[in-house]
């Protein structure tokens, strides 16, 4: 018999329990209840995910009886471009996520190409993205088969002159995606492993910054996207992402994207993500690599 009764300990706890119930301190519960860092971060398109890819996780920490929200500022600086993103989102009951994002792409060196080749005076491109994501079933932590979500991203160009000049057909488009995410506990040297897979139907050129559809292809195509990360502990997530891309414009080849990221989540209210990103060739400028930094606040 190895069972024994630890009476003194229980006796010490009992009055505390009563006291606690009487005093009823409102310590937690203002911010959502989901486990730390399980809301992902704000991706460049505003949807919860990693940096480049939307995941099945919904933003903020709202659990099934709670509201939550996020705001984020991100910046990617690659060789010849700078992308800035401002995003915000709300989450109701960990069921529906609604997001908005504004992307600004500074054309830096491309501005010269455009002026010489097309006579266009334009040094930035802007796009608005309105997103909705619904958690269809499952829970990334607790369901053996993970969490599955579907989402839409309606994207609207604010400056269509350049995309039109290089052959894009439309100034707006809607991406549709289906995504699965699962945390495998104690999977890699006792660390938790987060795996995400996303399939996206899209006509967007460079995510929509170069418009939608083109001369090589004008219809929807399915693209595979994935991300995986290891929680070093509950504050640090180290991982990588991959995003397949269409190639609709003969003007310039479009490459797949990938990144290696580290996210630091010191607290539910705050997250910092840093990444090395590789965007490949973008609008005739080759091998665009650089750094990505994103700050996110949750409430």
């Amino acid at each position: 018999m190895t069972r024994f009764f630890n009476k003194p300990r229980a006796v010490r706890v009992a009055p505390l329990l009563i006291l606690g119930l009487l005093a009823s301190p409102s310590a937690m519960a203002d911010i959502g209840s989901r486990i730390w860092a399980t809301g992902g971060v704000t991706s460049i398109e505003g949807s919860a995910g990693g940096g480049l890819v939307p995941w099945a996780l919904l933003g903020s920490y709202a659990s099934d009886e709670e509201w939550g929200g996020t705001v984020a500022l991100s910046r990617a600086e690659v060789d010849d471009y700078t992308l800035s993103v401002t995003g915000a989102g709300i989450n109701w009951n960990n069921r529906i996520e609604v997001t908005v994002a504004r992307q600004t792409l500074d054309l830096d060196s491309l501005a010269f190409t455009l002026k010489d080749g097309f006579g266009l005076e334009q040094d930035e491109l802007n796009q608005d993205i309105f997103g909705v994501k619904v958690r269809l079933f499952g829970d990334a932590l607790y369901s053996p088969w993970g969490q599955w979500s579907a989402g839409l991203q309606y994207k609207r160009q604010r400056d269509f002159t350049v995309p039109e000049a290089i052959g894009a057909r439309n100034d707006s488009g809607t991406d549709v995606y289906f995504s699965g995410s699962k945390v495998f506990f104690a999977a890699v040297f006792g660390r938790n492993l987060l795996v995400n897979a996303t399939v996206r139907g899209t006509r967007a050129n460079q995510g929509g910054l170069l418009g939608f559809g083109g001369d090589l292809n004008n219809g929807y195509e399915f693209m595979a996207e994935a991300g995986a990360g290891v929680f070093i502990n509950r504050q640090w997530l180290l991982g990588a992402e991959y995003r397949q891309k269409p190639d609709n414009l003969s003007f310039a080849r479009e490459d797949d994207w990938w990144d290696v990221f580290i996210a630091w989540v010191p607290d539910r209210r705050f997250a910092v993500t840093a990444a090395f990103v590789n965007l490949g060739d973008v609008a005739t400028l080759t091998d665009q690599q650089g750094v990505y930094l994103s700050l996110q606040g949750s409430f």
Binding site: N6, F184, A186, N192
Partner: protein
């Protein structure tokens, strides 16, 4: 289009295989007692459960559920359960998980709250991250019972 479709399929297949393979690990039973030792044996687990109780009392998301329970019995039963689950020489003699929690209508929010408090209690007792994760992994199969799904 053909090239990209083939590539899409290959990638999806690779991801699916990865998910299935890592999913299979979930069903492996580790018979050793290394986790039990990392948790500090029964006395270490008893300390964790005690700290968990303090956290529950302070937590408005769930403390109402625990009002008026037999604290000593809860403490000893949960300690036994975690001891047994971690490969220790204990035998859980409390009630069936589904039966106990059935009428409580426990939400995902409340389950998360309890999981959070358990993690904090383990942190207070300096349990290494890997051991925390291994214990939670062994608790996961109870999720549907506790939430009465």
């Amino acid at each position: 289009m053909g090239r990209s479709l083939a590539k899409t399929c290959t990638i999806l297949l690779a991801i699916t295989m990865g998910l299935v393979l890592s999913g299979c690990q979930n069903f492996q039973r580790e018979p050793d007692n290394s986790l039990y030792l990392q948790l500090g044996e029964r006395s270490g687990i008893a300390n964790i459960v005690e700290d968990l109780l303090y956290l529950i009392v302070d937590d408005d998301r769930i403390n109402a559920q625990f009002k008026g329970i037999n604290v000593a019995q809860f403490h000893s039963n949960l300690t036994d359960q975690l001891c047994e689950l971690s490969g220790g020489p204990c035998e859980y003699s409390g009630r069936d998980m589904r039966e106990v929690h059935q009428s409580m209508g426990i939400t995902n929010t409340q389950f998360n709250a309890l999981a959070e408090n358990l993690i904090l209690a383990m942190e207070e007792n300096n349990i290494p991250t890997a051991a925390q994760n291994r214990l939670i992994k062994r608790l996961l199969p109870m999720y549907p019972d506790i939430r009465h799904l």
